[in-house]
């Protein structure tokens, strides 16, 4: 048994130096970001399951459709990847700047640049889908193509929602000002965006690089 | 369980051995718990009260150690059993090969190069058999409980089930994976006969293969077992990759009033020897 007396009921000394018990705990924005991290983890699981499905379909799911080798080339996907990489970099500048009290204009500026590159990425992706589509390589052709469209499409949907989210944040920065709340939202979008980038690297390697080399 | 073949017998004995090995770690609870409940009850119990007692290194070691040892023993058993009873392993030299196609709601058996039958498989006694299994439509599970355990039958895939038949018997095999409106009828006869009878069976008069195929594609359930010529060589392999060869595919879920549903209701009544006039509701 513990020898120390139980200080039951005595008020808790707070590590923050001020002493009150909010329902929301102390470091709210840190907590929100922590929760968002956990959410991203489960999102990552979803991506890995789709990747695993794709890996299986790539082997056994060609049916009467094209193989990855016949379908993919590296040109456009490389440009696409560069666009996303740049956008991640510019987002980094955006959030770092915000941390060091950059002006709202600067923050918004970098965010806009990020979103433009995101849109370029998305545009290329849609263009490629379109190309495949008019060649008759639709998701209905084979298990492999189903898995391909679902995986890349899911990533694309994520990027789309990231872009919409970014646009709304710009509006919120304008209307609500650079409040703590808006800043946390931007930080979360940053996490989200970086995760999408990492996922894309995996997709690029698995689908295009290894597909073309196979 | 009343096993007829060596595989089913092995399954049964594993079950018993396995169960017995668990008793040393489980019986202490089944016996100890009632004893504690009686001995330490507050009103009238005789056990001494030690409210602070909450740890004993010895007990921890026995509990963690004991169950771990039990799992190691069971693990060794599992490893050995699983490998010795692997359904993919031949149970003897030169097994009889039978190719199987499970469909909604009937079974096709092919003795390659010899003959084909629907809803009936005839096997010689005490002989190793290898079933090559595929399906059309839904996933099914091929099971003759008194000979051996089950294995899934899946469209677009091939699985195998090896077993050795036992004495003469008339058995039943069935699909154990629910697959729709006539699931209770999704079964077949298994006749284990003498070698001579088996040879005679293979010589029996039969109908052409084309008849089987057209019929098989068309009907949902099959009236009584029938025999046919064997399909062309390699047909089963092709069908296992392209289930449409054996099945045009209809719905397994039928609206209550669909004509197929009526036929299935009739088939069920037939199976149960219930007069055709009675409606289902009256059957009870």
């Amino acid at each position: 048994m513990s020898a120390t007396t139980t200080n039951l009921g005595a008020h808790a000394p707070s590590d923050q130096g001020h002493d009150h018990g909010h329902a929301h705990g102390h470091d709210k924005s840190g907590t929100v970001i922590f929760g968002f991290w956990i959410f991203l983890m489960s999102d990552l699981i979803a991506f890995s399951l789709f990747i695993a499905t794709y890996a299986d379909a790539e082997w056994h799911g060609i049916a009467s459709g094209p193989s990855p080798h016949q379908l993919f080339s590296l040109g456009l996907p490389t440009v696409e990847t560069m666009a996303l990489l740049i956008s991640t970099f510019t987002f980094g500048i955006c959030t770092l700047g915000m941390k060091y009290n950059a002006t709202m204009r600067r923050t918004i500026g970098w965010l806009v640049v990020t979103l433009i590159f995101g849109a370029i990425f998305l545009g290329i992706e849609l263009y490629e889908f379109h190309e495949f589509w008019i060649e008759g390589n639709t998701p209905q052709v084979s298990g492999f193509l189903s898995a391909y469209y679902a995986l890349v499409g899911m990533h694309g949907l994520h990027v789309t929602s990231g872009i919409i989210w970014g646009l709304l944040l710009i509006v919120q920065m304008k209307t609500m000002g650079m409040t703590e709340l808006v800043k946390t939202r931007l930080m979360r979008l940053g996490l989200f965006w970086h995760m999408l980038d990492i996922v894309w690297i995996a997709l690029f390697t698995k689908i295009y690089l290894m597909g073309v080399l196979s | 369980m009343s096993p007829l073949g060596p595989i089913a017998a092995a399954e049964k004995s594993h079950m018993i051995v396995f169960f017995l090995w668990m008793l040393p770690v489980c019986l202490p609870i089944l016996i100890g718990l009632p004893w504690i409940l009686i001995k330490y009850r507050r009103k009238g119990g005789t056990g001494a009260y030690h409210p602070e007692w909450s740890h004993s290194t010895l007990a921890e070691a026995v509990i963690w150690g004991g169950s771990s040892v039990a799992v190691v023993i069971l693990g060794v058993l599992v490893w050995m059993n699983t490998i010795s009873e692997d359904p993919y392993k031949h149970t003897g030299a030169n097994p009889i090969k039978v190719q199987v196609v499970g469909s909604e709601w009937k079974w096709m058996f092919i003795y390659p190069g010899k003959m084909a039958s629907v809803n009936k498989v005839v096997l010689p006694e005490n002989t190793p058999v290898e079933f090559d299994i595929t399906a059309t439509g839904a996933m099914q599970s091929f099971w003759i409980p008194r000979l051996a355990g089950q294995i899934y039958a899946m469209p677009g895939m091939q699985t195998k089930m090896n077993m050795t038949t036992g004495e003469l018997a008339q058995l039943e095999g069935f699909n154990s994976q629910f697959n729709g409106a006539a699931f209770p009828l999704d079964k077949f006869e298994v006749d284990v006969v003498t070698k001579a009878q088996y040879d005679a069976f293979l010589q029996e008069p039969r109908k052409p293969w084309a008849d089987l195929l057209t019929q098989f594609k068309k009907v949902a359930t099959w009236d009584g077992p029938q025999i046919f010529d064997a399909p062309p060589k390699g047909w089963w392999d092709k069908a296992s990759m392209n289930p449409d060869l054996a099945n045009e595919g209809g719905a397994a879920i039928l609206p209550d009033a669909a004509p197929e549903q009526k036929k299935i209701d009739d088939a069920i009544r037939n199976e149960l020897h219930i007069s055709q006039n009675q409606s289902q509701g009256d059957a009870q």
């Binding site: 039951l8 005595a10 329902a23 298990g143 898995a147 | 119990g45 909450s54 693990g75 059993n81 899946m154």
Partner: protein, 689 residues
Amino acid sequence: MSILGSLKWDDIFIVPFFKEPSLSTGIAAAAGGIVVLGALAVLVLLTVKGWWKPLWTHWITTLDHKKIGVIYIVLAAIMLIRGILEAVVMRAQQVAPAPGFLSVEHHAELFSTHGTIMIFFVAMPLLIGLINVVMPLQIGARDMEFPFMNAISLWLSVGGAALVMASLVVGHFETGGWTAYPPYTGIKLSPNEGVDYWIWSLMLTGIGTTLSGINFAVTIYKQRAPGMTLMKMPIFAWTTLCTAILMIYAMVPLAVASVMLALDRHAGFHFFTATQGGNMMNFANLFWLFGHPEVYILILPAFGVFSHVIPTFSGKKLYGYTSLVWATVAIAVLSFTVWVHHFFTMGQTAHLNAIFGIATMTIGVPTGVKVYNWMLTMWRGKLRFSTAMLFSAGFMFTFVIGGITGVMLANPVISFAAHNSLFLVAHFHNMLIPGLLFGMFAGINYWFPLAFGFRLDETWGRRSFWLWMVGFYLTFMPLYAIGLMGAPRRMAFFTDPAYLPWLLVSMVGALAVLGGLTSQVIQVWVSIKNRESLMVPAGDPWDGRGLEWSLGCPVPEHDFTTIPNITSREPWVEAKERGLRVMEPTEFVDIHLPKNTSMGFLVAMVATVGAFGLIFEMWWLGALCWIAMFVLVLIRSYDTDWEKTVTAEELRADYERHKHVVETTPKVSLDDEFTTKNRGLVFDMEKAV
């Protein structure tokens, strides 16, 4: 495509009966009728009694974790009525002379909805509800970390449940079991909307559950009272943490599998179509990658409950705290490594099967450790047989039997002979009923006063226990027997006369269970009627040991007047040993609580309507609701006025009031624990200082 998508006249519950009257369609029409009449009756009652407003302001818009928890449990109770009625109809169908009174498909719809409802809309809401009510009180938190998200989770689950109920009235539910394997559930073999009901109701509740998991994990991680290190945390909080982690990771494969199934069905994709390069085995893998952890999501909170009920009613410290913690963690980790045991018969190599078989049995070790630890907690104690304690003891005994059959199934060779049989059905009911359900019953009986301020009636509680216990054995032991004789599961009727005696016993058992359930309804009714005499305003009606019992009953909305400082595992026991009867705060400060909001409810209801649209291929409705949800979230994001303040003065007044109650309540001896003398603050007089 019409504006109503694939909706037809025949989908309305009563139409098939008029077109084709039979007992089977009649039962379907009656079931739909009950739902409709029930819903109407509730509406009328609410209007007549004028309860709309209180319902809205106190319940629907609430963000209080205790009330959210209660709503979850009420949801479970409503869904369970359907689940149990279906179970009884199924048992009756199998004893009626073949082919029984239900069509094969109607029977299939019953076991599919029964399984789906019991797992997702009875078991899950029960445990999530209990966690909501109790966990924050145990760790000294004021609420969940994200109260708004908590409300969204709740109403998404309600929405999912509403869809399953709607399937009785409009259209059909799925018929391929709760596991819904394709290709059976593909568009070709299951062309009606049943599978889509399955997909979208699970999608809604699945998202809700994932969010709950995140909420619980973050709350435990960030909101523990100062001084409460992880190894000082109550076991129920530990099991919640592990369950939460399982929820976060395990619901995803289910969502992925059902999205793929939906794409296959409605967009012509080929994830699971064998002829076009799909792989149906991938569905089985994904489903059980969720499904197996799911069964431990179900059981771990129950393990947590037993770890509190048993010490309390043994008057003794929990034996082997550290062991229990590690055993919990081990079970959670191992649960992700065993999923293949659900399809040993799918034709993979013997070595792979053996490895997964052994991995499965390994879970027996930590589970066994737990059972032995509870037994050693009782050993050298002074046992009091409250309803909660009876359920715990009944659980320990029966659960071991289910564990034995589980380990048997983990041997692939045995699984070949028992898979898809009633032996398996007996195994899992053997885990779910005495494990999960008894755990939840014990928890509800034990913690009930925290939420409502009065105890539940013990007499009817004990009656219900005995009926449940006897009923369980009678219902499911025969199924082990005929399972071994080769009776497959999901069979509409049996023709083998050897089964009949066993099936009859089983039917009688199901009626006994129904009696147990009825006793519980009576128990709740009687307790509400006699609530005045069952009140325990001073709190701590069982000589409890955890922090939650230091509060008055019912617990006020702000939970703690001040958050205590924790220095040991059983702070309340030690406080009582030092003669304290109430926490003594040193200073009061203003606190913030989340304000009520209707947004959580609205978002989830819009999602539900949208899901209904998708089920009947009204794509416009799905899209519209998607946009509406988006707009609602946007509106909420502009709302920065989330909190209301409880002032220091109010807290002080509340504290003074509670202190007064406690000081004027006479101490109660353990002898009077179950009598009306118990107004709270029960003490062991033989031990008391």
